[in-house]
């Protein structure tokens, strides 16, 4: 069991530089004022409608995600290294996708087993042999990181399909600036509000070659019952593009069109926030009413670009994850800047043996699981739970990977009694089009329960504003 955690504000050698200006801020804050501000923040989130809709689970359908007012801070120096590492990883993941839907060089070279790719559920045969504009498959890459020391970051997972949460990054900043303007006047916090402009530029840059005018970009949502609907409308709004549902689009001839008050209008780029399986009932799930019949044909014939490409999920599988450092070396010829968490693949018999012997000390995850479901945190579980889980792993080893329990860093967080360290992770959003870009900011998720290492919003985690302090 891990006993010491890196505290991002108060490390063993005292108050760390990035946080110096915040020390006085919270120490001089009377409790009543803090309560007032916390209520004000909640009111702002509710008024903006920044909710996380959870339908069909009972309770408030428009739940607020808990917001912690204590910002998390990075120096420009720390951020530069993260930024280089993230961009590198996003480039390698895209090179991998281009490769496995084409010649499969990395498989021929014996670096990644063919089964892992071609028998992967996320592998989309419909895309094989197709090269999307600029060869980009994943246009928005969300990379989850954790920190374990002053210099040590680990990548936890890659999200190449439709990573969510970027609206919290933007709205957390909005709310902080509104509530504590003096903090921003006194500190050089790098702005994140260029994100929407970069996203729009990225999407427009991958318009099909057939598009000979200002590209018409739309955002495709499953609709307002989706838990991330707020984010979809928020992003469409910031980019000044139409937020469409499947019923608003139709295919006619070589192109995809949307229904407007002036009649049909041609669509060039679709930023889709629905899963592959729902995109086109003629190609994928025939029972889905969310998608657009015939869309995949138009896509493959170069009439429209879908962002991210169907099949991009094959790169963010937890079994493929272990090979990302190899991808960086293979495709880019570079040394990986960011480390993977050491991972045991239960599909390998030696690894399985180790995992079953040491399962009480490990975190074991389903290969396709997400949202904190289907995982075992060994040190935090009782014997019976561990035994049940071990049996499941033994029965179907290739469905599991295991990692050591990381000593996740903590950040000061407002709790009932005042300030206390809570575990955090980090999700920056990397944009890949003609350029590869990253705004100086990210979503920090925080485990609000004392001692908990699970930060997912579906598991009661909260969020905080993430600052990068610009240099003088």
């Amino acid at each position: 069991m891990v006993t010491s955690f890196f505290n991002e504000m108060y490390a063993s050698d005292g108050l760390r530089a990035p946080y110096q200006m915040l020390e006085g801020w919270y120490q001089n804050m009377p409790a009543e004022f803090r309560a007032l501000k916390q209520a004000e923040a909640e009111d702002l989130f509710r008024r903006y409608g920044i909710t996380f809709a959870v339908y069909g689970e009972g309770g408030d359908p428009d739940r607020l995600i808990p917001f912690d007012m204590f910002p998390r801070v990075f120096t420009a120096h720390e951020w530069r290294r993260l930024e280089r590492g993230i961009k590198q990883r996003a480039r390698a993941l895209n090179a991998f996708l281009s490769d496995v839907y084409d010649r499969g060089e990395i498989i021929r070279a014996g670096i990644i087993p063919a089964d892992l790719v071609y028998r992967n559920d996320a592998y989309e045969i419909a895309v094989a042999g197709f090269r999307p504009p600029l060869g980009v498959f994943s246009h928005i890459v969300g990379i989850d990181l954790v920190r374990t020391g002053a210099e040590q970051f680990y990548v936890l997972e890659d999200n190449c399909r439709t990573p969510s949460g970027v609206s919290y990054m933007l709205e957390n900043r909005e709310v902080m600036m509104r509530m504590f303007p003096h903090l921003f006047q006194e500190n050089r916090v790098a702005p994140v509000d260029g994100y929407a402009r970069l996203l729009k530029r990225t999407l427009a840059s991958v318009a099909p070659a057939k598009c000979d005018r200002d590209p018409c970009v739309v955002l495709l949502t499953p609709g307002h019952f989706n838990s991330a609907y707020y984010e979809h409308s928020f992003l469409a709004d910031l980019m000044g593009i139409e937020l469409v549902e499947g019923q608003d689009l139709f295919v006619d001839g070589d192109f995809c069109w949307m229904r407007t008050t002036e009649g049909p209008r041609k669509v060039d780029v679709i930023y889709r926030r629905i899963d592959d399986a729902y995109l086109d009932p003629l190609c994928f799930r025939p029972d889905s009413a969310l998608g657009v019949p015939g869309l995949m044909n138009v896509y493959r014939s170069g009439g429209v670009t879908i962002c991210s490409a169907p099949g991009a999920g094959v790169a963010d599988d937890k079994a493929i994850y272990t090979y990302v450092p190899e991808m960086v070396r293979f495709y880019l010829g570079e040394t990986p800047i960011l480390d993977n968490v050491p991972t045991w693949q239960c599909a390998k018999s030696d690894d399985l043996k180790y995992v079953l012997e040491n399962i009480g000390e490990l975190v074991v995850k389903e290969v396709h699981g997400s949202g904190g479901y289907g995982m075992l945190v060994g040190p935090a579980s009782d014997r019976a739970t561990i035994d049940t889980f071990a049996a499941k792993v033994a029965a179907n080893p290739s469905n599991y990977i295991a990692q050591p329990t990381l000593a996740l860093s903590t950040c000061p967080t407002f709790v009932e009694e005042g300030i206390a360290p809570r575990h955090v992770d980090l999700r920056p959003y990397c944009l890949v089009g003609r350029d590869v870009e990253l705004v100086p900011g990210a979503l920090t998720r925080v485990a609000l329960t004392d001692g908990s290492l699970v930060v997912n919003s579906s598991q009661g985690g909260g969020v905080k504003d993430t600052w990068v302090i610009a240099e003088e």
């Binding site: 307002h224 469409a236 608003d248 949307m258 229904r259 008050t261």
Partner: protein
């Protein structure tokens, strides 16, 4: 713009306007109930109010006897009644939520806040809320939303669809409110010109926030002919049928300019405006006020259908 977005905007304002009319009807019933019951012989006025909304049957199915307190709950809070204030505001907010991208933050804020306040009111004990408080709240809320739309929305097509929703719904509601008074409320023609008759006319004007305005325009004497003229044909009164169609025409013309093409929707609106601009109140009474109102309600429905066919389906016609 997306046809679906236009449809959501159109229905958002229709629901907002409808919630206000339900509140005004509630006010009308409340004031009528303050009148001493003289002879007993005539109908329960709450029944007439429910009948005008077409909800008498669902009400009696659910609550049985017509008791004021239940009618108030039904018309204001009951989510199972699709024309209750609460239902309309919830529907308006749902439409607004779907088209967040087409609304300014102030408009969204106004609509969303009204919904949150409504939810808070719902949790209060009913004895803490008087009927005038509820109607005042509704009218104040809808003014706030309307004001936010007027002062912040860009003057683009979406703005015209919102105003078309208001105009079409308002025309329908004015016609229905007048019809309640004339056809449903008064027990028999023998009462025309009686004290009861006059009290009901005053109540109707009050419910439309038009009591003072009427006095300014017609010098204070109540007469059914003048009040009908005021509510139907007076271009100065913003809720008159004529004003509603002037508004509808303005926004349909605006759409034709933006899109560079005219459609049958413009024609039907123009025909309605033409008829009302030319009409004399005697013509209306010759046709029969109830018959005239019924025809107007139908033609108004036709106009709404035509707007739907031309703009809200995504087919270029």
């Amino acid at each position: 713009m997306l046809s679906r977005t236009a449809a959501n905007l159109f229905w958002m304002t229709r629901f907002l306007e409808r919630s206000e009319t339900t509140a005004r009807l509630l006010d009308m019933g409340f004031r009528n109930a303050l009148l001493p019951n003289t002879g007993g012989g005539y109908r329960n006025e709450w029944g007439a109010i429910l009948q005008s909304k077409g909800v008498l049957q669902p009400f009696t199915d659910k609550y049985g006897e017509i008791v004021q307190r239940n009618v108030e709950s039904f018309l204001f809070f009951d989510m199972e009644n699709p024309s209750s204030v609460a239902s309309c505001i919830r529907s308006a907010r749902e439409n607004a939520r779907i088209v967040r991208t087409a609304l300014t933050s102030q408009v969204w804020d106004a609509i969303n806040t009204s919904y949150q306040e409504l939810m808070a009111m719902q949790r209060l004990e009913r004895s803490k809320l008087s009927t005038p408080d509820l109607t005042d709240w509704t009218i104040r809320t809808s003014s706030l939303i309307r004001g936010a739309i007027e002062s912040t929305q860009l003057r683009i097509d979406g703005y015209s669809f919102m105003n078309l929703g208001y105009a079409v719904e308002r025309a329908d509601n004015t016609a229905r409110l007048l019809d309640v008074k004339y056809y449903v409320l008064l027990p028999s023609v023998a009462y025309v010109g009686s004290g009861l008759d006059n009290y009901q006319w005053t109540t109707l004007l009050r419910a439309l926030s038009a009591h003072r305005a009427y006095n300014w325009a017609y010098g204070g004497e109540l007469s059914s002919v003048q009040i009908a003229h005021f509510l139907l044909l007076n271009p100065k009164f913003p809720r008159s049928l004529l004003s509603c169609y002037a508004e509808a025409n303005e926004h349909l013309d605006q759409l034709a300019r933006i899109y560079g093409r005219s459609t049958p929707a413009q024609e039907s609106a123009r025909a309605l405006l033409g008829e009302l601009a030319e009409a004399r109140i005697d013509d209306v009474f010759d046709e029969g006020l109830h018959e005239f109102l019924t025809r107007m309600i139908n033609e108004n429905g036709g106009l709404a259908q035509s707007i739907h066919d031309q703009y809200l389906t995504g087919e270029a016609r």
